[in-house]
Symmetry: C2
Subunit: 414 residues, 2 copies
């Protein structure tokens, strides 16, 4: 290769269930070696083996005792070992098939982050060593999920953030593609366990993928955002089944992306909190929700109805896991007066997603009428540019999702 | 503390069986906190939890397959994770008892080594961060067994080398003492499982400890050598039993060290290789043994007898695990002609050890006669300044060790 020729680079990522045993690591190593024969420079990010991260968290809680949380700084170094183990094992397995490979920790791969332990953000990637190892013909295995904070300590990027590592490496190395291999074989129009006629998509735009992120592929939204900003194509495909996956890329108006509705996102993990008799004055919503934001609780749908008596009812949704804590925080806050705050029952979000909806007014009407025909009551509604979401009873999810999948003809192949 | 005052520092080391569960880590953390209350600066080195290192080696072999050895460079990073896990957990456990603590990897602790993966030697310790963390009142937990090689990759110091980490830290920090906590409560006059009257020693000199290193405490000989060179006192004691241990220190002529014989070392792991009819010319021993040295096999006792026919018989001992390989290597070598090479049976070494023997001629005679009275045949003899070793049949070890323990009155307390 001459100096002016730049080797083409592909970044791959293998998730924890794909590398859960020595046998699986060997099977992936064999595929990596085949791919490397094509002459492409390969950088491979791996997650920790199987349930390693959960087991390490259990150990951290056990040594800390029930009344305290483990130190975030120590937890980060602890959890980072899971990816060190899987990346070194992957390098060894590649060696055994006769190819040269080297594992790099996040620090060695030049991944610099801020110092927010447990959810650090990548600040920069110094590609000097990555390029040196690639230039010497090695397959480079990078421990996912971790970096070096600006205080010189190991940081982690948050659960599921090996996807983010992979996309960030693809950006830094100007890779032609980032490939996410996992135990599902692509992005579906909706959850196939709920809608049997769900169909795998050949391609999807970044924005739609962000809205669908809660679907089967369970991709980390931060990684999609990063790919979108830099326009890195991301392929989501099966680790072991040799079938076409789904390509996430910038929405060129191809056949499929011209469809109005691309998919149906389902989130069965929604609880409604109702605050009644709230004094009606500016700043009330902020006052009620500030303690939740400070506690790291994401509030999703928010609805406010003014009553005749000069007070308002204020309703919002949070995830199941945060419901009790959110209710306690609202009750404890002193900034806003209200009559009572209650848990409003177990709900779900069903959304239609598609960039093609932006210019068409009929999609909401079709959605509401097909839910009505299926006997599904709509509790709350929220919309974005490319998404319409209905909050429904959790039991109604199968009826709702199947009715919408049929109404928008998502089972129809292109 | 004023600038001129230097805080007194103690380095502790806890072995793998001492930190094998979360409960044990909490129990040790509690003891560390009590000790820290006394005002001493504490640096604590930990080994990997329980069988972690063996499990990681099994994984490395499994991904590499049966025909190859895992890459030493990758193996070092892999194995280093075991100590990262135990050291972060120890820091968390200390936090939970209300004290400040920080875990440091070998790299973060400033431990610089050469690049001999798997058996790196410590080149230097940069104590800047260690002193900074100690100065801010933290208990400092250092991952044992590892360092940063001069190529920028993680290295390990060899099996059992957390002892070496601890002693090296004690040297670098001018610690008043290095404390090795383990599942035995000190150094005994001999193996108590073989000689019921074995007695725990209050103290022992470095040289004697080196000779006795194969005894109960199983201390890493490199750590003893290092302690001897720098005169660091090393206390070997039980992790959980609050009984006095054994102090290894420079041999001031105290009561106990004035004894002629300090202990009886036993090594049941000896095999004899006999090479018969070797041509008798200079360079023969070197020619026969060079291939073994190249293969990393330690040869211990060597005896050469010239026969009447102008050839010699050449006999040497190796460890059980190396016996077959040593025999193969001798048979394959081309440098020296010989009639035949055979496996000479399973033997053991029984040694009397003591600095006091240097100036007294009667110890060998007493040793040989008491073995004879016990009906033990002596196969080979070898001596050092402070040790006399007899090679005997493995079955004769109990009789030999008990006879010698009685003959030298080692059960007599001071």
């Amino acid at each position: 290769m001459t100096e002016t020729e730049q080797q083409s680079v592909v970044v791959q990522k293998y998730g924890g269930s794909s590398v859960s045993t020595a046998q699986k690591i060997r099977a992936i190593a064999r595929k990596i070696c085949e791919r490397a024969q094509s002459g492409v420079g390969l950088v491979v990010t791996v997650s920790a083996m199987g349930d390693t991260t959960d087991e390490l968290i259990d150990l951290a809680n056990a040594v800390t005792g029930p009344d305290l949380s483990p130190s975030p700084r120590e937890t980060d170094t602890l959890l980072s070992t899971g990816e060190l183990v899987s990346s070194t094992l992957m390098a060894m397995a590649i060696h055994s098939f006769g190819l040269d490979a080297v594992s790099l920790s996040g620090q060695q791969a030049g991944i610099r982050t801020n110092a927010v332990h447990g959810s650090a953000r990548i600040a920069a990637i110094d590609t000097e060593r990555l390029n040196r190892e690639l230039g010497s013909g090695k397959v480079v295995i990078v421990a996912g999920f971790q970096g070096l904070g600006d205080t010189g300590d190991v940081t982690t990027l948050g659960r599921g953030a090996s996807d983010t590592t992979a996309v960030a490496l693809a950006v830094a190395l100007s890779a032609e593609q980032c490939e996410i291999y996992t135990d599902v074989d692509g992005i579906y129009t909706t959850d196939p366990r709920i809608v049997p006629r769900a169909r795998k998509l050949k391609e999807i735009g970044y924005e739609e993928m962000l809205e669908m992120a809660s679907l089967g592929a369970k991709m980390n939204p931060r990684s999609i955002e990063l790919a979108a900003v830099y326009g890195v194509p991301v392929l989501v495909a099966s680790t072991f089944d040799d079938v076409p996956g789904t390509l996430i890329h910038r929405g060129e108006p191809t056949m499929e992306l011209r469809r109005a509705v691309t998919g149906i996102a389902i989130d069965k993990n929604v609880v409604k909190i109702i605050v009644r008799g709230v004094e009606d004055r500016p700043g009330v919503a902020g006052g009620l929700l500030r303690p939740l934001a400070d506690a790291g609780i994401s509030v999703d749908v928010i609805v406010q109805n003014t009553s005749d008596d000069g007070t308002t009812d204020f309703t919002f949704t949070v995830g199941d896991a945060d419901a009790q804590r959110a209710l306690d925080l609202v009750r404890q806050q002193q900034a806003v007066k209200f009559r009572d705050a209650t848990h409003g029952g177990e709900l779900a979000k069903v959304s239609i997603v598609g960039t093609g909806m932006q210019n068409g007014p009929g999609y909401a009407a079709t959605m509401f009428s097909s839910l009505a025909e299926a006997g599904v009551n709509i509790d709350m509604i929220t919309t974005s540019e490319i998404r319409i979401t209905c909050i429904v009873r959790r039991d109604d999810v199968p009826a709702a999702a199947n009715a919408l999948h049929d109404a928008f003809e998502l089972d129809r192949a292109d």
